[in-house]
């Protein structure tokens, strides 16, 4: 254990050094005096931090929109306290929003910020350690009162005691400047305070060379109902921009090279939004109504929120009394001919396991989404983790196989939702879709697909009583889907073992064996739908990195950086986890070493070892945070 910690600490250290070396801000150090140049960057990482009340989530997402519209790739990471509204100025009340954007595809929100905007001492205290050496720190001096300093546990004011010498510190009294700008707005002091975040936004837009006209429209229709606020915020935005424009403040402004993004219409999307859209898309293309039975739980609840607003589609949302009722109502709806969906996170998943067994026995199509979070038990509800994989594969009584797939990014949640539904209806089986608290809330640009290009899903309910046997199977071993209300096909289903054809209760020994075998064969058979695995990088050689789920971006970026350093390694990211892709065993044999990074203690590692009797190198982390690119890169460099 301690051993592990040390390595991971080490990993961190190195990463920080290496990256700060490559840091534009540092490089610039010398020329600070020169007439203000415009730095061209490949990518930049900015973090906005403040009190939960300071509106940093808004500032951050508005900034993302601005860069998105310039065609930059970006990835974000919102990070708010688990408290609903923590007391102001406290360390645990700090809320943050990080964005990385760049000229090429951006995979992650970045390891360490190049620039930090800290609205109060607590925000500075909790976030400074992450900032790159020599990075930019913009501090709202107006909030650095003795009271706030005390709350943050600062003995002395860090803005004055030289403790920030390692950074490019900009002390700006955002509070006062905003107040000044809004002197005549007629707004109350409290209301004026609420405009600070737009001042900060204007300032950063200027510093990073983004126009703000778009933003002005944004503000006007966001506050359409309260025009006085709209104008106040616009004024604050302008003021912030103008302030930054004043040459003497910043030695330079920055410009991230224009991106050559793939043509198309884009929107910014989170994993939970994408999942919701994916299920609606599946329901529409299949022409089958969608029924969501769910009980709220962080970080899965937004899927329920999204779908509950889509009642003008064939979407019913049922907020159940608990997770058991969530999945059971879904089973009832699926029996009724609806596309069953239930969404939850770890603890709720645990509660659903008995009913999943029933779903397996009934062989009805439904999708169970587990937006994983830190465990065990209540664990770390707002944090990212991938530790429910083995539960998904093995966590039921009896021989109870269920296909399991996982999404690799926010927008991939859309495709995975459709894939999950496709498998569910084709094979008449529950399907588990794993995402996690990371991609569920993180936003990235999504190139909106053309509806015509979406995978077809055909569903036919059986209506012909001729020779109907409830458990007779097609070539995929799927039984027929029969809606109650269909004349002449009345039949009973249930959780007791049932006859291979009639579905009536059967205690016959060989029938039980046969049913256990066929349920297993059916799920194993879904493997034939898995497309050939796409390996990034060399088709054989030294090192293959195998990942699943939300680690995709980190691994992909690490692979690129390794390649850039002349270490070409391969990356295979698994969507299908049960069954595993048929060509996987083969692929593994083509590499000398297989590295398996996971945000758990080695669950995919176990599956690979068991299935392929192949030793692999695990890289594990359960700290409620994603891997840093550097953590994966370092391991790659050690192994290749």
């Amino acid at each position: 254990m301690t051993a592990f910690e040390q390595t991971s600490e080490a990993v961190l250290e190195n990463s920080v050094q290496r990256e700060s070396a490559a840091d534009p801000a540092l490089a610039r150090g010398s020329e600070a005096a020169a007439p203000r140049p415009v730095e061209e960057l490949d990518s930049v990482v900015i973090r906005f931090v403040g009190d939960s009340g300071d509106g940093m989530q808004l500032t951050g997402s508005e900034f993302s929109k601005a860069v998105a519209k310039a065609g930059h790739g970006f990835a974000t990471h919102p990070d708010y306290p688990s408290e609903i509204r923590a007391p102001t100025g406290t360390l645990f009340g700090v809320s943050g929003y990080q964005i990385q954007y760049g000229a090429r595809e951006v995979f992650t929100s970045g390891d360490a910020p190049d620039a930090l905007v800290a609205m109060n001492p607590a925000a500075l205290k909790t976030n400074l350690p992450d900032v790159k050496h020599g990075g930019i720190v913009i501090a709202n001096t107006g909030a650095f009162s003795d009271g706030n300093l005390a709350k943050a546990g600062y003995a002395a004011n860090p803005l004055d005691d030289g403790s920030l010498d390692g950074y490019r510190l900009f002390k700006i009294d955002i509070s006062a400047l905003t107040a000044a700008a809004l002197r005549d707005s007629g707004l109350s002091k409290k209301e004026v305070g609420r405009c600070k975040n737009y001042f900060a936004l204007g300032l950063m837009l200027c510093l990073y060379g983004r126009p703000f006209d778009n933003e002005i429209d944004e503000i006007r229709d966001k506050f359409a109902k309260k025009p006085e606020f709209a104008e106040a915020n616009v004024t604050a935005l302008r003021a912030g921009h103008a302030y930054a424009d004043a040459a003497e403040i910043f030695a330079a402004t920055y410009q991230v090279r224009e991106a050559a993004a793939r043509p198309g219409t884009y929107r910014s999307i989170t994993g939970n939004q994408a999942a919701a859209l994916g299920f609606v898309a599946a329901s529409e293309t299949a022409g089958v109504p969608l029924f969501l039975g769910s009980y709220p739980i962080t970080p899965a609840t937004d899927i329920l929120h999204e779908l509950s607003a889509l009642k003008h589609f064939d979407v019913t949302t049922f907020q159940a009394e608990d997770e058991i009722a969530g999945i059971c109502s879904t089973i009832g709806a699926a029996y009724g001919g609806a596309l069953g969906l239930t969404t939850t996170s770890g603890p709720g998943m645990a509660l659903k396991t008995e009913a999943m067994g029933l779903a397996v026995m009934l062989e009805l199509p439904m999708v169970i989404v587990n937006v994983q979070r830190g465990g065990p038990s209540t664990g770390l509800p707002t944090k990212i983790e991938q530790s429910d994989l083995l539960q998904a594969v093995y966590g039921r009584n009896g021989e109870c196989p269920i296909p399991v797939i996982a999404a690799k990014s926010p927008s991939d949640c859309f495709d995975c939702a459709i894939e999950a539904v496709r498998l569910a209806v084709k094979y008449m089986t529950p399907v588990i879709l794993l995402t996690d608290g990371g991609i569920a809330n993180a936003a990235e640009p999504w190139r909106i697909p053309d509806v015509a290009s979406l995978p077809k899903i055909d569903v036919t309910y059986r209506t012909d009583p001729q020779g109907f046997q409830p458990y007779a199977r097609d070539e995929n071993l799927a039984r027929a889907w029969v809606r109650p209300g269909t004349p002449g096909m009345e039949h009973r289903v249930g959780g007791l073992e049932k006859d291979f054809l009639t579905g009536n209760i059967s205690h016959d020994p060989n029938n039980h064996q046969r049913m256990v075998d066929v349920r297993a064969a059916k799920v194993a058979g879904t493997a034939k739908d898995i497309p050939p695995s796409k390996v990034e990088g060399p088709a054989q050689g030294e090192l293959l990195v195998v990942g699943w789920g939300s680690t995709y971006g980190t691994i992909a970026q690490a692979r690129e950086q390794a390649a850039a350093q002349g270490r070409p390694v391969a990356h295979l990211h698994l969507r299908h986890l049960n069954p595993l892709p048929p060509d996987l065993g083969d692929i593994l044999t083509r590499y000398k070493t297989v590295l398996v990074p996971e945000l758990n203690m080695g669950q995919l590692t176990k599956l690979l070892r068991e299935q392929f009797l192949r030793d692999v190198v695990p890289l594990n982390k359960v700290q409620g945070k994603p891997f840093k690119v550097a953590e994966v890169l370092d391991r790659i460099l050690e192994l290749s």
Partner: protein, 341 residues
């Protein structure tokens, strides 16, 4: 149940499945099965539109014996499954058959929430005051001090009154009947079938093997007329072999009065009102129990309220009226979009 297709003439036979009924000889469940098989053909609902959902227990084997759509699900979950089915398929007539353990022990939460939501379900609880299928442990309706396999020294739990619990949860239709009295059983089941919304019927059922005579106090021919109170809407509370006893109020406490021949003091008797706006009366009656007071049988409460499945359908209609039928491309392209190239 509402949108009927052309009337079909069905018979009891049509609702008998090909599975052998596997209850103990003499089990009270047989009577309920027979009555329901008799009732359904009279409802003018196509056979294929019935769905029977159950949990686990002797009582929960019920769906296997009905030649309708049905699910013998998992223990206690029938109300949740049935709610999902009915909300997804308002056109079906969805029935739940459950037991005192299935509905009130493991299934208690789904039970009270079904009552609260007023989903249009018929909930038939076969209350034998014991866990039959697991061979005789006390249940949440077993009398205090009951000696069973799991309580050799007598149970120390106070029993639920299923009727009180249902009313406490806000049920819109609540009734009680008994397996042995076929006529009463049939009439109460018919009333439940006719109710729009969650209709809860407690059937006092005899488990001849593990709890024989549990309801003797009100089934014993000799005494039952004095221990039963047959509820009749709009009628005063009168009972007794010679209908010579009545119930009146002292403050809010019930009090039994002897009625003289001329029935003069019937005026003071409490008059039953199934559809009182205030649920107080129904609950008041639900607390009656032997030996002090007669056990009410019949319909305690029957009031109209919009059903969950109706309201859900209305949400959809409303949303479509407001926004028009959802368009997928429109949805995907909604929100803040930007175009490149």
């Amino acid at each position: 149940m509402n949108d009927m297709t052309l009337p079909v003439t069905l018979t009891k036979k049509d609702f008998e499945s090909n599975q052998d009924v596997r209850w103990c000889p003499g089990c009270g469940d047989y009577a309920v099965l027979a009555q329901i098989q008799k009732l359904l053909p009279t409802l003018g609902i196509p056979k294929e539109n019935f769905a029977f959902i159950s949990g686990i227990g002797c009582s929960s084997r019920f769906p296997y014996y009905m030649d309708t759509y049905g699910m013998h699900s998992i223990h206690g979950r029938a109300p949740a499954i049935a709610s999902g089915l009915k909300v997804a398929r308002p056109d079906l007539s969805v029935w739940i058959v459950t037991g005192d353990g299935d509905a009130l022990a493991i299934g208690g939460n789904h039970f009270i929430h079904a009552m609260r939501r007023n989903v249009d379900l018929k909930v038939i609880l076969l209350n034998n005051r014991i866990y039959g299928l697991t061979k005789g442990q006390y249940s949440p309706t077993s009398e205090f001090g009951k000696k069973t396999k799991s309580t050799p020294l007598g149970s120390i739990d106070r029993p639920f009154s299923p009727v009180s619990l249902a009313l406490g949860a806000g049920a819109t239709f609540v009734a009680r009947t008994v397996d042995g009295d076929l006529q009463h059983l049939a009439s109460v089941l018919a009333r439940a079938a006719a109710h729009k919304g969650t209709a809860f019927v407690e059937v006092l059922q005899n488990c001849i093997v593990f709890n024989d005579g549990a309801h003797a106090a009100i089934t014993d021919k000799a005494t039952r007329d004095d221990t039963r109170l047959l509820l009749e809407h709009g009628k005063p509370l009168v009972f007794g072999k010679n209908r010579d006893k009545g119930v009146r109020l002292r403050g809010m406490e019930p009090e039994i009065v002897a009625l003289d021949a001329d029935g003069a003091d019937r005026q003071q008797l409490v008059v039953h009102d199934e559809s009182a706006t205030h649920a107080g009366l129904a609950f008041f009656l639900s607390q009656f129990d032997t030996p002090d007071l007669p056990v009410p049988l019949g319909v305690f409460r029957s009031v109209n309220a919009p059903t969950c499945d109706e309201l859900n359908a209305q949400l959809h209609d409303g949303a479509r009226a407001a926004k028009g039928r959802g368009d997928l491309a429109g949805l995907l392209n909604s929100g803040d979009t930007w175009t490149i190239g």
